[in-house]
Subunit: 368 residues, 4 copies
């Protein structure tokens, strides 16, 4: 695809940590080109480089072609609709305001959102591309419900669940339904955005609480693993999750310690390793640009996965699993890791957009 | 008790991290006075201050009265028997060697051990003083079995379980038997001794594995909560534990994320908090010098206990619990924390020795 | 001194990190009793325990006798004047506002300030009690200038200089004038207050810049080491300082790497160690309650002082020095460490207040 | 250059941290191919993957083509001479043993060493490729002295100086001779190898001492900036360095806080920035495969360079400088950073080998 044919993408909330990651990860993207940036009133009217001066937090430098883009106010929906084929949404407001503003954008263009506002809207798909790509099938119904002709809303789930839901789903899809999950997370500080956690509170410390995270982590998987019935999502009701969340002094990489009970027979550990190693989702089959190969990386070392060593696997898009062993209480237990600001945030949303593009949901909508 | 009447105590393995903590915590102890130090051949013959030059790792300075004690070889049991009323054991060797050497010491004098070698000897009590003080009743049988007139062996359990077993026991002893525990630990680096974990492996990282720790953590509680039958310990067989262990970049303080299922009815959360807050063990009733008051400290803040803020509670001897809430899968869940090198190691052994003294098991055995 | 006779002290900015340290360090103080708390409008009217809920950051619990004190607005000077014999000032505002508000307080009562607003007021003494206690002699002139009968203002210097100025002063006072200092600091995150540095920016990182810190560090020593002439402070003009400041991922404890050139002959290294070891300031001579003995602690180990091991020396009030050796460029070099939130902030101010009390500048001014 | 034409390289000390970095950085190298690995007796005879099981410490996986190479004993010089066109040396022994063993290798093949044993041999060049490439001119004399026909020895300097010597040299080579340098380093833990620093000693701490590091840092630059006279290196005698070294809790990246005095006039700060920005060394002119462009990266942000943000610049081969400002005592001061295990170790040695190749000193010496 040559540059003229790339889809033009806008980033709402471009100055925050997730917005910066969108910009970083979309640099030289083969299908998408960042053409539009929006943020709060405070940044509006500034060149991007100046808007993030002193708070460019992600690796590497600001891409040259983005530096001089003038930042718009996220409230100026009309501006975006003149410049973008679709938008990634990562702006910060009250939840209800986000919900409404994303809907205003969706009237004009597709919205792929990192925000939680629409995660439980009954007609909005919450996507992990390897797990529930078929949930995109609701888009026509969503458009009809909402009266939207050009746009729609697709969201990605919380970062905390993205280390363990893909390997759990791999087992389910291999024919081994799961009855319950008891998970303890050890989450990196970047999950709290910027400035996020205070250094004085994290050096030589662990904080056994993340606001709202356990509720999200226990509820979102049920929708993701659920089905569409009568144009609405219906949760999987046969799975029970208990997720306890801890913040640890790690920059990036959410680790989960997982115990799992199967509904029926337990596959042998060796079989589980095979299921994981050979698992492929639609992103791999379609060979999407950001799809990791393999999506689930099995570590055989006794002390892996580790955030420092494994978070960058598959350019931050692969899930690393290890320490598979029997659980004295449930059936099995294992550790799983994913990069929270790549797979768990901007990267996951980009992979969702690639899936949308491959399925024909994203197209040029503006005139050159 | 004036100084002349203090019991004379020796420390086996005095130069290691646990040995140093014994020395630190016994400084100005009202009942015990450090009179004898032993370590490996390498340190034997040196003054203590020189033996630990460059590797005194614990807070504060080396106590004045210990600095100039000449270190013995831990192999010279006879020397110790001329100088000590009892010994704390924390030396490092092959497990089988430790077992045998501790038995040689026990012929001559009581041994309170931090080592794991005798934890599963059928006639050796493994003590958390607040939990199973009655296990000391096996000592006469142990002496008879072994033919020991002067000594005996008492051990303390692994540090990893000491954050959650006391609060679990408090529930059991209040009439709420526990059926299962699913625990994920976040353990401090000092638990690995010195030098222990490499800094390059712990900065910005978590290691989801601690060698042998899960096995110990799942097995030891069953003995501690078990009973004496026919002069032998019999494990509690009605409790199932699943413990997954992680190493986190924290200096001191093991945190546990615990889910628990009761055998029968679940008490209300409020009642559980009351049980914990009002819990007292024999060390509290006897008002032993190192006994924390209260032994279990309930934190009401939403984000506590934290290692940096709570490990020093009760001079490092109290267990802090918090975040009590319902568990969607088992019955309840909570976080618990204890100081691994104090309550979980030297401090726990000292409290055991105080309990032994209060019960008449420790007495002056050497002539002045 | 019995409790009835203790001076009643108020804390302005009681909810911030320095304010909390004042409260912690004044608990059971033999001379001062915290009777009054003030903070921003946001906290005014709340009980202290509620005002700091979720952000009590210092060690231990909130002292019982302070928990229920109702917080005043820092703007209500009159309230303070009815309740306090003097105040510690640590509130946050624009510098000019602080300057004015502290002056309003000083009309009514003595103010011992942790703020920088008045550090260069020509008639306000900036005190390190061991270094320039004689600077308090300006107080009568200050009162006369300002028309204050009841109060006055005394300030303490920035935390960054308190590790190296006392040992430098000890050399000067022993008859070895100093010509130049080239200092690189490695400063703890607590120096930035709360929330201060973002964890994401400090884990696995160093930041080679602290806003305004180098300017303060190069200028303040010249006043502290200066003299009073015609009722005004005159800087020492014979000393040149170059101070470069870095933030390191350490909770507490500012470390300085110092190179020093003497004006005249260089004393032998052994003599310098003797000067430091035997140094006493007026707080030691007067045996003030918070005075560390010795004020300068010489570490002979090759790798000390270290923040984790030495910051608590003298209850956080002692300066630790070590690594004294020749400098190939200047004359000597050494490392120095002090606890930035104790000696460098609240503790230093309390010691200054003790000095004021001992010299008769603080007295009961309110009626019981 | 196609693969058949690549030079065959062996790595002595292949299992250590530096050896691993050689393997990582030489993966897919356009000129060199790793064909031979040697390590201690303990590893000899094992496949590389097994030899490093549990201690592969560097990023990414072990390259496929290296995994199955059987590790030789480093003592088997003959084996290497049958397999390699040259070797990188990074094995660990007593210094004198290293010296001798490297000489045995040098009889047979060129040796590019990361070790310090030969840094001060009068006929061995110590190379920073951008700074003193002309020092390679001594190789013919070295060979004649030693009677070596096939090989020679070239070494790289200590990692601690590689952040600040290139920018200092850039100034010298632009016509501004330097009279003195006063440097304080903040060095990463990976500089100590593996296991290196204990985590318990580095979390929440700084250690103001690195064994032997200050001596190396003050002496090595004088040789590097020196000249060849009568086939021997003669130190630059007009420069005085004072370097104080600290270990900080950072994984990778040595930061230096530098004050500098020029011998003659001081260029304007703006001119210095221009000199640095436009600096090119021979590796840039020759466009060597590992040469960073630019070699010196000027950061204009007020708080850069930082290890976490800047160590990877130029694939870990660029030096980042920032915070240039006047020094109140010397002339200027600035902060400089380089990646200690890339530029400062394996990467620097590889760049030296590339320079040797480009200059004709490395050629195929073994028969296919």
């Amino acid at each position: 695809m040559n540059k003229k044919m790339k889809l033009r993408v806008g980033i709402l909330g471009a100055t925050g940590m997730v917005g910066q990651n969108f910009i970083r990860l979309l640099n030289d993207h083969p299908w998408f080109e960042v053409c539009y940036l929006a943020a709060s009133q405070h940044s509006a009217g500034k060149e991007y480089e100046k808007a993030v001066a002193g708070r460019w937090l992600v690796e590497g430098e600001i891409p040259e072609q983005v530096k001089n883009i003038t930042v718009n106010s996220v409230l100026e929906v009309e501006n975006a609709s003149n410049a973008c084929d679709f938008v990634f949404s990562a702006f910060n407001m009250e939840k209800e305001e986000i919900r409404k503003l994303e809907e205003l954008y969706a009237e004009k263009m597709p919205v792929v959102s990192n925000n939680s506002a629409h995660r439980f809207s009954a007609d909005v798909p919450m996507i992990i591309p390897e797990v529930n790509p078929q949930h995109l099938d609701i888009i026509p119904a969503q458009r009809q419900n909402r009266g939207w002709e050009k746009g729609f809303i697709v969201v990605k789930p919380n970062c905390s669940i993205q280390s363990f839901i893909p390997p759990v789903y791999a087992l389910i899809s291999a024919g081994f339904p799961v009855e319950s999950l008891l998970v303890t997370t050890l989450q990196a500080v970047s999950g709290a955005g910027y400035p996020g956690m205070a250094a004085i509170g994290m050096i030589d410390n662990v904080i056994p609480h993340i606001n709202g995270e356990e509720e999200k982590s226990e509820r979102e998987p049920l929708k993701i693993l659920g089905t569409i019935q009568n144009d609405k999502f219906v949760d999987l009701d046969s799975l029970v999750l208990s997720v306890s969340c801890n913040r640890v002094p790690v920059r990036h990489g959410h680790l989960a310690s997982v115990s799992l009970k199967f509904r029926d027979d337990q596959p042998a550990l060796e079989e589980i390793l095979n299921i994981w190693s050979s698992f492929e989702g639609e992103p791999q089959v379609l060979n999407l640009p950001s799809a990791p190969h393999p999506p689930i990386l099995v570590r055989n070392e006794v002390d892996r996965p580790q955030p420092a060593k494994d978070r960058e696997a598959g350019n931050g898009m692969a899930i690393s699993v290890g320490r598979l062993r029997d659980c004295p209480l449930l059936d099995i237990r294992f550790s799983a890791l994913s990069h929270n600001t790549v797979r768990g945030a901007a990267g996951g949303a980009i992979l969702s957009a690639e899936l949308l593009k491959a399925k024909g949901y994203l197209q040029p909508i503006i005139q050159n």
